[in-house]
Protein backbone atom coordinates (compact mmCIF):
# COMPACT_ATOMS: atom_id res chain seq x y z
CA UNK A 1 0.00 0.00 0.00
CA UNK A 2 2.91 2.37 0.58
CA UNK A 3 3.99 4.96 -1.93
CA UNK A 4 7.68 5.78 -2.49
CA UNK A 5 9.48 7.25 0.55
CA UNK A 6 9.42 11.07 0.80
CA UNK A 7 7.02 11.66 -2.06
CA UNK A 8 4.51 13.51 0.12
CA UNK A 9 4.76 16.85 1.91
CA UNK A 10 4.68 16.77 5.69
CA UNK A 11 1.19 18.18 5.61
CA UNK A 12 -0.15 15.53 3.22
CA UNK A 13 1.54 12.82 5.24
CA UNK A 14 0.02 13.94 8.54
CA UNK A 15 -3.47 14.40 7.16
CA UNK A 16 -3.34 11.00 5.46
CA UNK A 17 -2.14 9.28 8.64
CA UNK A 18 -4.89 10.97 10.64
CA UNK A 19 -7.45 9.31 8.40
CA UNK A 20 -5.54 6.03 8.16
CA UNK A 21 -4.86 6.42 4.45
CA UNK A 22 -1.60 5.24 2.82
CA UNK A 23 1.51 7.32 3.55
CA UNK A 24 5.01 7.43 2.04
CA UNK A 25 6.44 7.12 5.56
CA UNK A 26 5.08 7.41 9.09
CA UNK A 27 4.80 11.08 10.09
CA UNK A 28 6.50 12.44 13.21
CA UNK A 29 4.20 14.53 15.33
CA UNK A 30 3.87 16.02 18.77
CA UNK A 31 0.32 17.25 19.26
CA UNK A 32 1.14 18.68 22.70
CA UNK A 33 4.39 20.70 22.81
CA UNK A 34 7.96 20.48 21.51
CA UNK A 35 9.21 23.67 23.15
CA UNK A 36 12.57 23.31 24.90
CA UNK A 37 14.92 25.79 26.54
CA UNK A 38 17.54 25.05 23.88
CA UNK A 39 15.08 25.90 21.10
CA UNK A 40 13.96 29.07 22.93
CA UNK A 41 17.60 30.23 22.97
CA UNK A 42 18.16 29.27 19.38
CA UNK A 43 15.42 31.54 18.03
CA UNK A 44 15.30 33.98 20.94
CA UNK A 45 11.71 33.21 21.86
CA UNK A 46 11.71 32.32 25.57
CA UNK A 47 8.87 31.47 27.95
CA UNK A 48 6.85 33.15 29.33
CA UNK A 49 6.72 35.66 26.44
CA UNK A 50 6.41 32.86 23.87
CA UNK A 51 3.14 31.87 25.53
CA UNK A 52 1.68 35.36 25.25
CA UNK A 53 3.01 37.06 22.10
CA UNK A 54 1.98 35.64 18.72
CA UNK A 55 5.24 36.36 16.84
CA UNK A 56 7.33 34.66 19.50
CA UNK A 57 4.85 31.81 19.83
CA UNK A 58 4.96 31.20 16.08
CA UNK A 59 8.74 31.47 15.93
CA UNK A 60 9.28 28.95 18.72
CA UNK A 61 6.65 26.59 17.31
CA UNK A 62 8.24 26.61 13.85
CA UNK A 63 11.42 25.06 15.25
CA UNK A 64 9.51 21.80 15.56
CA UNK A 65 9.72 21.65 11.76
CA UNK A 66 12.82 23.67 10.91
CA UNK A 67 15.15 22.36 13.62
CA UNK A 68 13.70 19.02 14.64
CA UNK A 69 12.30 17.84 11.33
CA UNK A 70 8.85 16.93 12.68
CA UNK A 71 5.92 16.91 10.27
CA UNK A 72 3.73 19.14 12.40
CA UNK A 73 3.93 22.56 13.99
CA UNK A 74 2.15 23.07 17.31
CA UNK A 75 2.11 26.60 18.71
CA UNK A 76 0.22 25.97 21.95
CA UNK A 77 2.87 24.86 24.44
CA UNK A 78 0.66 25.00 27.52
CA UNK A 79 -2.85 23.96 28.47
CA UNK A 80 -3.95 27.21 30.04
CA UNK A 81 -4.64 29.73 27.26
CA UNK A 82 -8.44 29.51 27.34
CA UNK A 83 -8.51 29.08 31.13
CA UNK A 84 -6.75 32.41 31.34
CA UNK A 85 -9.45 33.90 29.10
CA UNK A 86 -12.10 32.39 31.37
CA UNK A 87 -10.62 34.31 34.28
CA UNK A 88 -8.40 31.76 36.04
CA UNK A 89 -5.34 33.20 37.74
CA UNK A 90 -2.19 32.14 35.96
CA UNK A 91 1.31 31.69 37.25
CA UNK A 92 3.30 32.55 34.12
CA UNK A 93 6.61 31.21 35.45
CA UNK A 94 10.01 31.73 33.83
CA UNK A 95 11.84 30.40 30.82
CA UNK A 96 12.48 27.04 32.44
CA UNK A 97 8.92 26.12 33.35
CA UNK A 98 5.43 25.94 31.88
CA UNK A 99 2.74 28.36 32.99
CA UNK A 100 -0.05 26.96 35.17
CA UNK A 101 -3.43 27.78 36.54
CA UNK A 102 -3.48 28.57 40.25
CA UNK A 103 -6.00 25.87 41.00
CA UNK A 104 -5.83 26.62 44.72
CA UNK A 105 -7.85 29.74 43.88
CA UNK A 106 -10.73 28.31 41.83
CA UNK A 107 -13.07 30.65 39.97
CA UNK A 108 -16.16 28.41 40.04
CA UNK A 109 -17.93 26.63 42.87
CA UNK A 110 -21.19 25.74 41.24
CA UNK A 111 -22.71 25.21 37.83
CA UNK A 112 -24.32 28.65 37.89
CA UNK A 113 -20.91 30.27 38.22
CA UNK A 114 -20.03 29.10 34.72
CA UNK A 115 -20.30 32.15 32.56
CA UNK A 116 -18.41 32.22 29.31
CA UNK A 117 -17.06 35.76 28.91
CA UNK A 118 -17.89 37.56 25.70
CA UNK A 119 -14.20 38.24 25.05
CA UNK A 120 -13.30 34.54 25.08
CA UNK A 121 -11.80 34.73 21.60
CA UNK A 122 -10.38 38.24 21.80
CA UNK A 123 -8.63 37.89 25.17
CA UNK A 124 -4.84 38.26 24.87
CA UNK A 125 -4.17 34.60 25.62
CA UNK A 126 -6.64 33.07 23.16
CA UNK A 127 -6.05 35.71 20.49
CA UNK A 128 -2.33 35.00 20.75
CA UNK A 129 -2.97 31.41 19.63
CA UNK A 130 -5.22 32.49 16.77
CA UNK A 131 -2.68 35.04 15.54
CA UNK A 132 0.20 32.59 15.84
CA UNK A 133 -1.73 30.05 13.75
CA UNK A 134 -2.34 32.71 11.08
CA UNK A 135 1.37 33.52 10.93
CA UNK A 136 2.34 29.86 10.71
CA UNK A 137 -0.31 29.06 8.14
CA UNK A 138 0.97 31.83 5.89
CA UNK A 139 4.59 30.87 6.25
CA UNK A 140 4.47 27.06 6.37
CA UNK A 141 0.90 26.16 5.50
CA UNK A 142 1.67 24.46 2.20
CA UNK A 143 4.37 22.16 3.54
CA UNK A 144 3.57 21.38 7.16
CA UNK A 145 0.47 20.52 9.14
CA UNK A 146 -0.30 23.33 11.57
CA UNK A 147 -2.05 21.88 14.59
CA UNK A 148 -4.02 23.93 17.09
CA UNK A 149 -5.23 22.96 20.56
CA UNK A 150 -8.56 23.36 22.31
CA UNK A 151 -9.03 22.06 25.84
CA UNK A 152 -11.85 19.65 26.62
CA UNK A 153 -14.45 20.40 29.31
CA UNK A 154 -13.06 17.87 31.81
CA UNK A 155 -9.65 19.60 31.88
CA UNK A 156 -11.33 23.01 31.99
CA UNK A 157 -13.27 21.70 34.99
CA UNK A 158 -9.98 20.96 36.80
CA UNK A 159 -8.76 24.47 36.10
CA UNK A 160 -11.92 26.37 36.99
CA UNK A 161 -13.16 24.33 39.99
CA UNK A 162 -9.80 22.99 41.20
CA UNK A 163 -8.99 19.31 40.65
CA UNK A 164 -10.12 17.98 44.01
CA UNK A 165 -13.43 19.86 44.27
CA UNK A 166 -14.19 18.89 40.67
CA UNK A 167 -13.45 15.20 41.25
CA UNK A 168 -15.49 15.18 44.46
CA UNK A 169 -18.40 16.78 42.64
CA UNK A 170 -18.18 14.04 39.99
CA UNK A 171 -18.74 11.48 42.75
CA UNK A 172 -21.34 13.37 44.79
CA UNK A 173 -23.46 14.80 42.02
CA UNK A 174 -23.10 13.19 38.58
CA UNK A 175 -25.99 15.19 37.11
CA UNK A 176 -24.51 18.48 38.15
CA UNK A 177 -21.13 17.40 36.79
CA UNK A 178 -22.69 16.54 33.43
CA UNK A 179 -24.39 19.89 33.45
CA UNK A 180 -21.07 21.66 34.08
CA UNK A 181 -19.40 19.75 31.27
CA UNK A 182 -22.27 20.62 28.99
CA UNK A 183 -21.87 24.32 29.72
CA UNK A 184 -18.09 24.23 29.38
CA UNK A 185 -18.17 22.44 26.03
CA UNK A 186 -18.97 25.77 24.36
CA UNK A 187 -15.43 26.92 25.17
CA UNK A 188 -13.97 23.84 23.50
CA UNK A 189 -16.10 24.25 20.40
CA UNK A 190 -15.81 28.02 20.02
CA UNK A 191 -12.05 28.12 20.49
CA UNK A 192 -11.64 25.10 18.20
CA UNK A 193 -13.71 26.57 15.41
CA UNK A 194 -11.88 29.90 15.70
CA UNK A 195 -8.60 28.05 15.19
CA UNK A 196 -10.00 26.40 12.07
CA UNK A 197 -10.87 29.86 10.77
CA UNK A 198 -7.32 30.96 11.56
CA UNK A 199 -5.96 28.12 9.42
CA UNK A 200 -5.36 25.08 11.65
CA UNK A 201 -5.23 21.74 9.81
CA UNK A 202 -6.10 19.66 12.85
CA UNK A 203 -6.67 20.20 16.56
CA UNK A 204 -5.39 18.52 19.69
CA UNK A 205 -8.13 18.13 22.28
CA UNK A 206 -6.65 17.38 25.72
CA UNK A 207 -9.19 16.13 28.23
CA UNK A 208 -7.36 14.60 31.18
CA UNK A 209 -9.67 11.79 32.25
CA UNK A 210 -6.64 9.59 32.83
CA UNK A 211 -6.39 6.25 34.60
CA UNK A 212 -4.03 7.93 37.05
CA UNK A 213 -7.03 9.89 38.32
CA UNK A 214 -10.34 8.32 37.32
CA UNK A 215 -11.77 4.97 36.21
CA UNK A 216 -12.38 3.90 32.62
CA UNK A 217 -16.07 3.86 33.38
CA UNK A 218 -15.84 7.58 34.19
CA UNK A 219 -14.65 8.21 30.66
CA UNK A 220 -17.66 6.35 29.29
CA UNK A 221 -20.16 8.03 31.60
CA UNK A 222 -18.93 11.59 31.41
CA UNK A 223 -17.00 12.08 28.22
CA UNK A 224 -17.58 9.61 25.41
CA UNK A 225 -20.77 11.23 24.15
CA UNK A 226 -19.37 14.74 24.48
CA UNK A 227 -16.34 13.68 22.47
CA UNK A 228 -18.62 12.23 19.79
CA UNK A 229 -20.40 15.58 19.73
CA UNK A 230 -17.08 17.43 19.21
CA UNK A 231 -16.40 15.35 16.11
CA UNK A 232 -19.64 16.71 14.64
CA UNK A 233 -19.30 20.30 15.74
CA UNK A 234 -15.56 20.87 15.07
CA UNK A 235 -15.14 19.91 11.43
CA UNK A 236 -11.42 19.08 11.14
CA UNK A 237 -9.38 16.10 12.35
CA UNK A 238 -9.31 15.94 16.16
CA UNK A 239 -6.52 14.35 18.19
CA UNK A 240 -7.65 13.43 21.68
CA UNK A 241 -4.86 13.72 24.25
CA UNK A 242 -5.00 11.93 27.58
CA UNK A 243 -1.68 11.15 29.22
CA UNK A 244 -1.16 8.40 31.76
CA UNK A 245 -2.76 4.93 31.83
CA UNK A 246 -5.60 4.66 29.32
CA UNK A 247 -5.76 1.08 27.92
CA UNK A 248 -8.82 0.42 30.04
CA UNK A 249 -10.73 3.16 28.17
CA UNK A 250 -9.21 2.97 24.69
CA UNK A 251 -12.14 0.99 23.39
CA UNK A 252 -14.51 3.84 24.38
CA UNK A 253 -12.08 6.37 22.94
CA UNK A 254 -12.03 4.47 19.65
CA UNK A 255 -15.84 4.74 19.53
CA UNK A 256 -15.80 8.55 19.45
CA UNK A 257 -14.96 8.98 15.79
CA UNK A 258 -12.01 11.23 16.61
CA UNK A 259 -9.21 11.00 14.05
CA UNK A 260 -6.47 10.13 16.50
CA UNK A 261 -5.59 9.40 20.10
CA UNK A 262 -2.31 10.71 21.55
CA UNK A 263 -1.29 8.02 24.02
CA UNK A 264 1.26 7.72 26.83
CA UNK A 265 4.15 5.29 27.32
CA UNK A 266 2.33 3.73 30.27
CA UNK A 267 0.39 1.84 27.59
CA UNK A 268 2.08 -0.70 25.33
CA UNK A 269 1.97 0.04 21.58
CA UNK A 270 0.97 -3.50 20.56
CA UNK A 271 -1.77 -3.81 23.16
CA UNK A 272 -3.10 -0.35 22.33
CA UNK A 273 -3.32 -1.04 18.62
CA UNK A 274 -5.09 -4.33 19.27
CA UNK A 275 -7.76 -2.50 21.24
CA UNK A 276 -8.24 0.46 18.92
CA UNK A 277 -7.85 -1.58 15.71
CA UNK A 278 -8.45 0.58 12.66
CA UNK A 279 -11.06 2.77 14.35
CA UNK A 280 -8.75 5.60 15.40
CA UNK A 281 -5.11 6.48 14.62
CA UNK A 282 -2.62 6.35 17.46
CA UNK A 283 0.03 9.02 18.08
CA UNK A 284 2.91 8.46 20.46
CA UNK A 285 4.28 7.15 22.73
CA UNK A 286 7.96 7.88 23.37
CA UNK A 287 8.51 8.24 27.09
CA UNK A 288 9.33 11.75 28.29
CA UNK A 289 10.94 11.68 31.73
CA UNK A 290 12.91 8.46 31.43
CA UNK A 291 13.80 8.29 27.73
CA UNK A 292 13.72 11.68 25.98
CA UNK A 293 14.88 13.61 29.03
CA UNK A 294 17.25 11.24 30.76
CA UNK A 295 18.60 8.80 28.14
CA UNK A 296 20.28 9.08 24.76
CA UNK A 297 19.49 8.69 21.05
CA UNK A 298 19.92 4.90 21.14
CA UNK A 299 17.05 4.44 23.63
CA UNK A 300 14.90 6.95 21.74
CA UNK A 301 15.46 4.94 18.57
CA UNK A 302 14.34 1.73 20.28
CA UNK A 303 11.04 3.26 21.33
CA UNK A 304 10.45 4.67 17.84
CA UNK A 305 11.04 1.21 16.41
CA UNK A 306 8.70 -0.51 18.82
CA UNK A 307 5.94 1.93 17.85
CA UNK A 308 6.57 1.42 14.15
CA UNK A 309 6.74 -2.35 14.54
CA UNK A 310 3.34 -2.26 16.22
CA UNK A 311 1.86 -0.22 13.37
CA UNK A 312 1.32 3.10 15.18
CA UNK A 313 0.15 5.70 12.63
CA UNK A 314 2.04 8.79 13.90
CA UNK A 315 5.19 8.67 16.02
CA UNK A 316 6.20 11.22 18.63
CA UNK A 317 6.65 12.03 22.33
CA UNK A 318 3.85 11.03 24.73
CA UNK A 319 3.02 14.53 26.03
CA UNK A 320 4.58 18.01 26.28
CA UNK A 321 8.29 17.24 26.25
CA UNK A 322 10.35 18.25 29.28
CA UNK A 323 11.78 21.72 28.65
CA UNK A 324 15.32 20.49 29.28
CA UNK A 325 15.19 17.74 26.65
CA UNK A 326 18.28 17.70 24.42
CA UNK A 327 17.76 18.50 20.73
CA UNK A 328 19.97 15.52 19.95
CA UNK A 329 17.31 13.18 21.32
CA UNK A 330 14.48 14.87 19.47
CA UNK A 331 16.10 14.85 16.01
CA UNK A 332 16.70 11.15 16.53
CA UNK A 333 12.95 10.54 16.17
CA UNK A 334 12.62 11.50 12.48
CA UNK A 335 15.99 9.88 11.74
CA UNK A 336 14.88 6.60 13.27
CA UNK A 337 11.60 6.74 11.35
CA UNK A 338 13.48 7.23 8.06
CA UNK A 339 15.83 4.36 8.85
CA UNK A 340 13.02 2.01 9.82
CA UNK A 341 11.28 2.66 6.50
CA UNK A 342 14.52 2.33 4.49
CA UNK A 343 15.26 -0.99 6.18
CA UNK A 344 11.75 -2.19 5.43
CA UNK A 345 11.97 -1.05 1.81
CA UNK A 346 15.30 -2.89 1.45
CA UNK A 347 13.77 -6.09 2.82
CA UNK A 348 10.88 -6.05 0.35
Amino acid sequence: METEINSMTSRQRVLAALSREPVDRTPVCNPTSVATVELMDLVDAPFPAANREPELMARLAATGYTELGFDTIMPVFSIIQESSALGCKIQWEQKDNWPTVKMMEPIYEDVDDINIPSDLLTHQDTKCVLDAIKILKKEYGDEVAVIGKTMGPWSLGYHCFGVEPFLLMSLDDPDKTLHCLDKLKKVTIDFGVAQIDAGADALTLPDHATGDLVSGDYYRRYLRDLHIEFVDSIPIPLILHICGRTVDRMDYIAQTGMSAFHYDSKNKPQESIEITQERISLVGNINNPETLFARGPEEVRQEVYSNLDAGIQLVGPECAIPLQTAIENLVEIPKAVQDWHSERAAQN
Binding site: E164, G211, L323
Partner: protein, 252 residues
Protein backbone atom coordinates in the same frame (compact mmCIF):
# COMPACT_ATOMS: atom_id res chain seq x y z
CA UNK B 1 -4.62 -17.44 64.16
CA UNK B 2 -7.86 -15.55 63.38
CA UNK B 3 -9.74 -16.42 60.20
CA UNK B 4 -11.76 -14.20 57.89
CA UNK B 5 -14.93 -15.54 59.54
CA UNK B 6 -13.75 -13.94 62.79
CA UNK B 7 -14.29 -10.51 61.24
CA UNK B 8 -17.76 -9.62 62.35
CA UNK B 9 -18.63 -6.80 59.95
CA UNK B 10 -19.91 -8.18 56.67
CA UNK B 11 -18.90 -5.15 54.59
CA UNK B 12 -15.33 -5.33 55.84
CA UNK B 13 -15.19 -9.08 55.30
CA UNK B 14 -16.23 -8.59 51.70
CA UNK B 15 -13.73 -5.79 51.20
CA UNK B 16 -10.89 -8.00 52.41
CA UNK B 17 -11.97 -10.93 50.27
CA UNK B 18 -12.53 -8.89 47.16
CA UNK B 19 -9.66 -6.41 47.14
CA UNK B 20 -6.75 -7.71 49.18
CA UNK B 21 -4.38 -10.01 47.32
CA UNK B 22 -1.03 -10.05 49.14
CA UNK B 23 -1.03 -12.76 51.87
CA UNK B 24 0.73 -10.57 54.45
CA UNK B 25 -1.77 -7.76 53.90
CA UNK B 26 -4.72 -10.12 54.17
CA UNK B 27 -3.32 -11.57 57.37
CA UNK B 28 -2.70 -8.13 58.85
CA UNK B 29 -6.22 -6.95 57.98
CA UNK B 30 -7.87 -10.05 59.45
CA UNK B 31 -5.78 -9.69 62.59
CA UNK B 32 -6.74 -6.06 63.01
CA UNK B 33 -10.43 -6.33 62.29
CA UNK B 34 -11.06 -9.53 64.21
CA UNK B 35 -9.84 -7.80 67.35
CA UNK B 36 -11.79 -4.55 67.22
CA UNK B 37 -15.26 -3.83 68.52
CA UNK B 38 -18.25 -3.92 66.22
CA UNK B 39 -18.81 -0.19 66.67
CA UNK B 40 -15.28 0.51 65.46
CA UNK B 41 -15.71 -1.87 62.55
CA UNK B 42 -18.74 0.13 61.54
CA UNK B 43 -16.74 3.35 61.55
CA UNK B 44 -14.03 1.71 59.47
CA UNK B 45 -16.64 0.41 57.03
CA UNK B 46 -18.23 3.82 56.60
CA UNK B 47 -14.81 5.34 55.99
CA UNK B 48 -13.93 2.72 53.37
CA UNK B 49 -17.29 3.47 51.76
CA UNK B 50 -16.39 7.18 51.62
CA UNK B 51 -19.48 8.12 53.63
CA UNK B 52 -18.54 11.18 55.69
CA UNK B 53 -22.03 11.70 57.12
CA UNK B 54 -22.04 8.26 58.71
CA UNK B 55 -18.45 8.57 59.98
CA UNK B 56 -19.35 11.92 61.52
CA UNK B 57 -22.41 10.49 63.24
CA UNK B 58 -20.81 7.23 64.42
CA UNK B 59 -17.74 9.02 65.78
CA UNK B 60 -19.83 11.46 67.76
CA UNK B 61 -22.01 8.65 69.14
CA UNK B 62 -18.99 6.55 70.09
CA UNK B 63 -17.46 9.46 71.98
CA UNK B 64 -20.74 10.12 73.79
CA UNK B 65 -20.88 6.49 74.79
CA UNK B 66 -17.46 6.87 76.34
CA UNK B 67 -15.21 5.22 73.75
CA UNK B 68 -11.64 6.43 73.99
CA UNK B 69 -10.67 8.94 71.26
CA UNK B 70 -7.47 7.05 70.57
CA UNK B 71 -9.39 3.82 70.07
CA UNK B 72 -11.69 5.48 67.54
CA UNK B 73 -8.72 6.84 65.67
CA UNK B 74 -6.72 3.60 65.62
CA UNK B 75 -9.43 0.99 65.27
CA UNK B 76 -12.00 2.94 63.30
CA UNK B 77 -10.35 5.56 61.13
CA UNK B 78 -6.77 4.32 60.67
CA UNK B 79 -7.76 0.70 60.21
CA UNK B 80 -10.26 1.75 57.53
CA UNK B 81 -7.78 3.96 55.78
CA UNK B 82 -5.25 1.15 55.42
CA UNK B 83 -7.72 -0.75 53.22
CA UNK B 84 -8.40 2.37 51.15
CA UNK B 85 -4.67 2.82 50.45
CA UNK B 86 -4.33 -0.72 49.16
CA UNK B 87 -7.44 -0.47 46.96
CA UNK B 88 -6.05 2.68 45.37
CA UNK B 89 -2.59 1.21 44.86
CA UNK B 90 -4.12 -1.77 43.05
CA UNK B 91 -6.39 0.44 40.87
CA UNK B 92 -9.64 -0.87 42.34
CA UNK B 93 -10.58 2.68 43.19
CA UNK B 94 -9.41 6.01 41.78
CA UNK B 95 -8.74 9.52 43.02
CA UNK B 96 -12.38 10.70 43.45
CA UNK B 97 -13.19 7.71 45.67
CA UNK B 98 -10.02 8.26 47.72
CA UNK B 99 -10.88 11.93 48.13
CA UNK B 100 -14.26 10.90 49.51
CA UNK B 101 -12.55 8.60 52.04
CA UNK B 102 -10.25 11.46 52.99
CA UNK B 103 -13.28 13.64 53.59
CA UNK B 104 -14.75 10.93 55.81
CA UNK B 105 -11.47 10.66 57.72
CA UNK B 106 -11.52 14.42 58.24
CA UNK B 107 -15.09 14.26 59.54
CA UNK B 108 -14.02 11.81 62.22
CA UNK B 109 -10.77 13.59 63.03
CA UNK B 110 -12.64 16.85 63.60
CA UNK B 111 -13.87 15.27 66.87
CA UNK B 112 -10.73 13.33 67.73
CA UNK B 113 -8.04 15.94 67.13
CA UNK B 114 -9.06 18.47 69.81
CA UNK B 115 -9.37 15.69 72.39
CA UNK B 116 -5.96 14.26 71.58
CA UNK B 117 -4.19 17.60 71.59
CA UNK B 118 -5.85 18.59 74.89
CA UNK B 119 -4.73 15.35 76.48
CA UNK B 120 -1.17 15.85 75.24
CA UNK B 121 -0.89 12.47 73.54
CA UNK B 122 2.25 12.37 71.36
CA UNK B 123 1.66 11.84 67.64
CA UNK B 124 3.52 9.01 65.88
CA UNK B 125 5.68 11.69 64.29
CA UNK B 126 5.60 15.15 62.76
CA UNK B 127 5.95 15.55 59.01
CA UNK B 128 6.28 18.60 56.78
CA UNK B 129 5.16 17.96 53.20
CA UNK B 130 5.11 20.09 50.08
CA UNK B 131 5.38 20.08 46.29
CA UNK B 132 8.63 21.73 45.18
CA UNK B 133 9.13 25.15 43.60
CA UNK B 134 7.64 25.58 40.12
CA UNK B 135 5.42 22.51 40.39
CA UNK B 136 1.67 22.62 40.92
CA UNK B 137 0.87 18.91 40.83
CA UNK B 138 -0.49 18.07 44.25
CA UNK B 139 -2.90 15.17 43.96
CA UNK B 140 -0.30 12.52 44.77
CA UNK B 141 1.16 14.57 47.60
CA UNK B 142 -2.30 15.10 49.06
CA UNK B 143 -3.00 11.37 48.99
CA UNK B 144 0.27 10.74 50.82
CA UNK B 145 -0.68 13.32 53.44
CA UNK B 146 -4.04 11.71 53.87
CA UNK B 147 -2.50 8.28 54.38
CA UNK B 148 0.08 9.70 56.79
CA UNK B 149 -2.65 11.37 58.83
CA UNK B 150 -4.56 8.15 58.55
CA UNK B 151 -1.59 6.43 60.17
CA UNK B 152 -1.42 8.83 63.10
CA UNK B 153 1.19 11.32 61.90
CA UNK B 154 0.76 15.05 62.30
CA UNK B 155 1.33 16.56 58.87
CA UNK B 156 1.90 20.22 58.00
CA UNK B 157 1.01 20.75 54.37
CA UNK B 158 2.97 23.51 52.61
CA UNK B 159 0.87 23.03 49.48
CA UNK B 160 2.46 23.58 46.04
CA UNK B 161 5.28 25.69 44.59
CA UNK B 162 7.25 25.53 47.85
CA UNK B 163 10.61 27.31 48.05
CA UNK B 164 13.71 26.04 49.86
CA UNK B 165 13.24 28.69 52.54
CA UNK B 166 9.63 27.74 53.10
CA UNK B 167 10.67 24.11 53.65
CA UNK B 168 13.43 25.14 56.06
CA UNK B 169 11.22 27.55 58.02
CA UNK B 170 8.45 24.98 58.40
CA UNK B 171 10.78 22.19 59.54
CA UNK B 172 12.20 24.53 62.19
CA UNK B 173 8.86 25.96 63.24
CA UNK B 174 7.17 22.59 63.71
CA UNK B 175 10.30 20.79 64.85
CA UNK B 176 9.49 18.14 62.25
CA UNK B 177 10.99 14.64 62.31
CA UNK B 178 10.44 14.17 58.60
CA UNK B 179 10.32 16.27 55.46
CA UNK B 180 8.55 14.96 52.36
CA UNK B 181 8.94 16.56 48.95
CA UNK B 182 6.88 15.79 45.87
CA UNK B 183 7.65 16.62 42.20
CA UNK B 184 5.89 15.51 39.00
CA UNK B 185 7.90 17.42 36.45
CA UNK B 186 11.41 16.68 35.27
CA UNK B 187 11.88 20.45 35.21
CA UNK B 188 11.19 20.74 38.93
CA UNK B 189 12.74 17.48 40.16
CA UNK B 190 16.19 19.14 40.59
CA UNK B 191 14.60 21.50 43.11
CA UNK B 192 14.50 18.57 45.53
CA UNK B 193 18.27 18.30 45.38
CA UNK B 194 18.59 22.06 45.77
CA UNK B 195 16.41 21.99 48.85
CA UNK B 196 18.55 19.24 50.37
CA UNK B 197 21.64 21.39 49.68
CA UNK B 198 19.93 24.32 51.37
CA UNK B 199 19.39 22.18 54.48
CA UNK B 200 23.08 21.28 54.45
CA UNK B 201 24.09 24.93 54.04
CA UNK B 202 21.80 25.93 56.91
CA UNK B 203 23.42 23.23 59.04
CA UNK B 204 20.07 21.52 59.54
CA UNK B 205 20.48 18.39 57.46
CA UNK B 206 21.07 16.12 60.46
CA UNK B 207 17.95 17.39 62.22
CA UNK B 208 15.45 15.95 59.79
CA UNK B 209 14.95 12.85 57.64
CA UNK B 210 14.15 13.75 54.05
CA UNK B 211 11.99 11.63 51.76
CA UNK B 212 11.04 12.24 48.14
CA UNK B 213 8.45 10.99 45.68
CA UNK B 214 6.35 11.71 42.61
CA UNK B 215 5.97 9.88 39.29
CA UNK B 216 9.33 10.76 37.63
CA UNK B 217 11.38 10.30 40.83
CA UNK B 218 13.29 7.04 41.25
CA UNK B 219 15.27 5.41 44.04
CA UNK B 220 18.42 6.10 42.05
CA UNK B 221 17.58 9.79 41.72
CA UNK B 222 16.74 9.96 45.42
CA UNK B 223 20.10 8.40 46.34
CA UNK B 224 21.99 10.72 43.98
CA UNK B 225 20.63 13.86 45.55
CA UNK B 226 21.17 12.62 49.07
CA UNK B 227 17.61 11.95 50.24
CA UNK B 228 17.08 9.47 53.07
CA UNK B 229 14.31 7.61 51.30
CA UNK B 230 12.04 7.26 48.29
CA UNK B 231 8.49 5.93 48.14
CA UNK B 232 6.62 5.01 44.99
CA UNK B 233 3.08 5.38 46.32
CA UNK B 234 1.09 6.55 49.33
CA UNK B 235 1.21 3.17 51.06
CA UNK B 236 5.00 3.13 50.72
CA UNK B 237 5.15 6.72 51.92
CA UNK B 238 3.67 5.61 55.25
CA UNK B 239 5.93 2.56 55.54
CA UNK B 240 8.96 4.68 54.67
CA UNK B 241 8.02 7.32 57.23
CA UNK B 242 7.74 4.70 59.94
CA UNK B 243 11.08 3.16 58.93
CA UNK B 244 12.86 6.52 58.88
CA UNK B 245 11.46 7.37 62.31
CA UNK B 246 12.66 4.05 63.70
CA UNK B 247 16.15 4.71 62.28
CA UNK B 248 16.01 8.10 63.86
CA UNK B 249 15.28 6.56 67.26
CA UNK B 250 18.22 4.20 66.90
CA UNK B 251 20.58 7.06 66.18
CA UNK B 252 19.72 9.00 69.29
Amino acid sequence: MPEITDVENEFIREEIEEYLEQPNEIERAINTFSQISSAMQEIAAALIDGDHHTVDQLTSTALEEGTDALEIMDDGLIAGMSIVGIKFRENFIFVPEVLACARAMKAGMAYIEPILSASGIEPVGTVVMGTVKGDLHDIGKNLCIMMLRGAGFVVHDLSVDTSEDEFIDAVEEYDADLLGMSALLTTTMPNMGKTIEAFIDADLRDDVKIMVGGAPVTQEFADDMGADGYGKDAVECVELSKRLLAEDDEEF
